[in-house]
């Protein structure tokens, strides 16, 4: 166990939290709860990690400490975050977690960003007995690893595209065109989409894959435009989501339903496309500040702390929900990791994005959802029971 610090309490203690590994234990009353993670602060993963994930960790730790610390079975103990950059490199990521769990022997860990990093960390954490609630891992294969300590918060591909297809069917769509990125995310979503479309009468008039670093989608979009599908589905990442949107606007491709997976839920999307330009665009989104009062509180706190930077309306919510679950677990059973794991696995959790329950590693309580930009806000529009606004049926022209 960690030695209780004998140092005097210094003022502004909370501000020091979240800084780095050597953040001194400034809290006199109780030894800190040490929570470790590695995440991308440099390299290509940074964009996602610094929107959907790390800001939440920092905000959460700050809020907990401001409230007197994390509730550990009734005792308030300050949180000390031990974090480092994984340089968007898997080996560095693995090494960092080996250090956190093996040498530093932190009390808890928080997951890294992205499916690949989670693939690498999950078995390790599982072996060391650390429960992990991953907000940015999306792969059926991760579920199939059947790791008892690993929980995926995001709705898996079948749910997300399932909701999308339900929505399309409900609105009488007959033809769709699909583009998907050439990696695990794109391929899994695409095959889930195929499965979901099978029992419907919807025709796929075009399906094309593209590499992740693509700089020009217009030839593809033009040929899709010629086929005039009622709905466009891009199983895409943020840069290509924006590229596809800009180029669709460029060539005047404006189908009734325009869907692009990741990145639509980002504040960036609205900045780049302007609120009017984003109007009607669909994407992966599961919550916004109207979802619940707690969600609003979170949204406001996040925006305030990070100088106007909004959380995204998809994985940020899951990330926060994961922290809520962890917090509740620690409050209930303390820091005994096996007990935390059992608590997470055995209960239904109330979070800002609604109820979460795990079957194996998978979150099976959160339904698949579809989001849509309406008047500068990304609203949840499908399914109706979690919707924050009504689906707008005809997408206005790009502006």
């Amino acid at each position: 166990m960690v030695q209780p610090s004998k140092r005097q309490l210094l003022k502004g203690a909370a501000a020091a939290v979240g800084a780095a590994a050597f953040a001194p234990s400034l809290f006199a009353q109780a030894s800190p709860v040490r929570i470790g993670y590695a995440i991308a602060r440099t390299g290509p993963w940074t964009g996602g990690a610094q929107v959907s994930q790390e800001p939440n960790y920092l905000l959460w730790a700050e809020q907990q400490n401001a409230a007197g610390g994390l509730d550990v079975k009734g005792n308030r103990r300050p949180i000390e975050l031990i974090s480092s950059d994984d340089r968007s490199d898997i080996e560095t990521c693995v090494r960092s977690y080996e250090k956190l769990m093996g040498s530093d022997k932190v009390d808890l860990i928080l997951p890294p960003w992205g499916s690949n990093a989670n693939f690498a960390v999950a078995p390790l954490a599982n072996r060391m007995g650390y429960p992990v609630l991953a907000p940015t891992a999306l792969s059926r294969k991760l579920v199939e690893l059947k790791l008892p300590n690993f929980f995926l918060l995001l709705q898996q591909p079948d749910r997300m595209v399932g909701a999308l297809v339900d929505m399309l069917v409900a609105n009488g769509v007959k033809t769709v065109a699909v583009i998907y990125v050439d990696d695990l995310f794109g391929l899994e979503n695409f095959s889930a989409l195929k499965v979901a479309l099978r029992s419907t009468g919807i025709q796929v008039v075009e399906e094309k894959s593209y590499p992740g670093d693509i700089k020009d989608l217009s030839p593809v979009l033009r040929s899709i435009k010629d086929k005039n599908p009622e709905a466009f589905i891009g199983l895409s990442y943020p840069p290509d989501t924006i590229l596809a949107s800009k180029q669709s606007k460029e060539i005047g491709f404006n189908p009734r339903f325009y869907y692009a997976s990741v990145g639509t839920a980002f504040q960036l999307y609205r900045n780049v496309m302007t609120p009017a330009g984003a109007e009607g665009v669909l994407g992966m989104g599961s919550w916004n500040s109207k979802t619940s009062p707690a969600a609003k509180a979170y949204f406001d706190a996040h925006t305030k702390k990070f100088g106007g930077k909004e959380p995204d309306r998809w994985a940020s919510g899951h990330c926060w929900a994961g922290l809520e679950i962890l917090q509740a677990a620690v409050a209930k059973v303390g820091l005994e990791r096996k007990a935390i794991r059992d608590y997470i696995a055995g209960n239904t959790h109330r979070t800002i994005i609604g109820d979460i329950k795990f079957t194996g590693s998978e979150n099976t309580a959160t339904p698949g959802t579809v989001g849509q930009w309406q008047n500068g806000e990304f609203e949840v529009v499908w399914p109706q029971k979690v919707a924050t606004a009504k689906l707008s049926l005809v997408k206005p022209a790009w502006k």
Partner: protein, 325 residues
């Protein structure tokens, strides 16, 4: 005589290094061991890169291609084969690819060669992606059969020691001499009877075999591999940087640089990741400008200045370095 003493000194140093690294898991913390693993990975990669690229001055950026090929091989082979067999297979396939690649590009020199090897690495990455997608329907592979950490550590240690050992032996062999001749003046070496084409392809394949073996051994740590992670050009870049900053033509340079960098990376990464990468860049520029022989040459120059004429073996070390450099 002198040469023999240097050989014995080098072998003893290597033995000491191997012994120390071997003992590390028994007393070092988890963190130290995993850091040592990364360090050993770069010792193996950079030393083996220096074997060929250092002495011939062929600047290969294809390390990540061979690393990736090794990684994919072990991902596929481990389901049916034993650990060491998979590693050997990874090394073998990487070497075969290197032979084909080398036969095509090794007649080009300088930046042409560098650019081409880089281009080929990217081509292989995209080809593997496309093939995987078309044939297996997915791009990545999940590794379910995974040996324990000590096995991986010992394997990578073995590869690192082997790479340095081969360097020691090689620079005393005809093969090594031929590589050095190619680096100094390729055509002259040819007119003195060196079949440069054969030697280059063989040297390139040897470097590739090491990179392939390291890739095969390291990939299992990542559970899931896809072309983007295992063919990451950064692995190749970092290998080259470490070798060059350490002194690609020296024996101990890559090893020293790998250790320095691992320590530097771990300490700076925590506080200021960008600063680490920036200082890496700055260090590279400075070393190219002011220390073209690498860190190892710095050590020699300063030492010889201090101890000139005082100790016999030290002088022999100096002349050895000069002969190699």
């Amino acid at each position: 005589m002198n040469d023999r003493q240097v050989l014995i000194r080098d072998l003893l140093l290597l033995l000491a290094f191997a012994g120390w690294a071997l003992a590390l898991p028994h007393y070092g913390s988890e963190f130290v061991v995993s850091m040592a693993l990364t360090c050993l990975m770069y010792v193996a990669l950079s030393s083996s890169w220096g074997l060929f690229c250092g002495s011939t001055r062929y600047l290969s950026l294809a390390t990540s291609a061979f690393f990736g090929i090794g990684a994919y091989t072990s991902a596929i082979a481990l389901e049916k084969m034993a650990w060491l067999e998979s590693i050997a297979l990874g090394a073998g396939i990487a070497a075969v690819v290197a032979v084909v690649m080398g036969a095509a590009v090794l007649h080009l020199r300088g930046t042409y060669f560098a650019v081409l090897t880089f281009g080929m690495t990217e081509l292989i990455r995209h080809a593997v992606t496309y093939f995987e997608k078309k044939v297996t329907g997915t791009v990545g592979r999940v590794l379910t059969v995974v040996p324990d950490r000590d096995t991986i550590y010992l394997t990578v240690l073995g590869l690192a020691v082997l790479a340095v050992f081969v360097s020691i032996v090689l620079r005393r062999s005809r093969f090594g001499l031929a590589l050095m001749g190619i680096g100094a003046d390729e055509q002259r070496a040819q007119t003195l009877g060196v079949n440069t084409r054969l030697i280059k392809v063989a040297g390139f394949a040897m470097t590739a075999a090491f990179a392939g073996a390291v890739g095969a051994a390291m990939a299992v740590r990542w559970t899931y591999i896809d072309p983007h992670t295992v063919f990451n050009p950064f692995i190749g870049f970092q290998t080259v940087l470490i070798a060059l900053i350490g002194g690609a033509m020296t024996l101990w340079g890559p090893l020293i640089a790998a250790i320095v960098f691992s320590v530097l990376a771990e300490t700076l990464r925590l506080q200021a990741p960008q600063v680490y990468m920036m200082s890496l860049g700055l260090l590279l520029i400075l070393s190219v400008l002011y220390l073209p022989g690498g860190l190892a040459s710095l050590r020699w120059a300063t030492f010889s200045g201090w101890w000139q004429g005082s100790r016999g073996w030290l002088r022999s070390l100096g002349s050895e370095e000069r002969k190699n450099g």
